[in-house]
Amino acid sequence: MSLDLAPIIRGVERLLFDLASFDQSGPQIVILHRYRLGVAGIGCQPGEEVAQLLLVHDSRRVNIQLPLGPRLLFDYLARTKHLPQSATQISSSIRLSRFYSQHGKNSGIVSNRKIGQRSVKEYVKRIRRALAMTFEEAGLHLDPKAILVSYPVSNEVRYKLKAHIEWVHVSEIDSR
């Protein structure tokens, strides 16, 4: 009896692709924004809501369970993932950003959070805990500290996200 081994070969290629993607840019995470107004194709706009974070692994999507504050911080770190930043830098950038100060406004209720320096440190811990739980659920044996990385520089710590991030807007999903 001879078997068609093509599914195994395809499976191997897919696993190798996943390995290469991990090595290069970390795990794939989808950030879902909703309440988008305006034209599709434009980047994220003030008034949208960071609704959900999803880890994509082996064609599965697993929720990263985070409350509003850490969710906003994660979104910010994802946008600036090329640049390690200190808690002070993060806090001031989020305060100045219209996206975060008008977060969720398009729904009729602004749902923002004041994110101070201390909050950043606490939220980083919460994000790592949530990532650890999500990795476990997805069967991924990764260290959250290797994804949300801390870089000690003299007496301050800088944070950087190492992940492949994709933003999905719900209005785009609805129009498909």
């Binding site: 078997l3 070969i9 190798l16 599965r60």
Partner: protein
Amino acid sequence: MARILIVGFDEVVGRSLVDQLRLRRHFVEICPLHSNQVQRCNKEVDIVILDLSKDDISARMVLELLIQHRAETGLKPMMLGVFQSYRGPRVESEIERKGVRVVYVA
């Protein structure tokens, strides 16, 4: 080029798989379920292809062993579980939850 370990397959199917993967320039080794090679499997191996068709205890034990190895070493070895018949969504999701990708061959 990846290092691939093929575990628990019949001689004929295993050989055919080795040939196909070597054609793609991978380093491939084949071993039976009870081999020491499985015990020694570490992060040097990129992918383990495991035959789960026979549904015997040995295959499940090897799977658990490899999952333990992976918990210690990180992402590798990645695992591909092979079935020759459909086992239903429950078995499939139970195995995939452990980080093993499932494929079916016929």
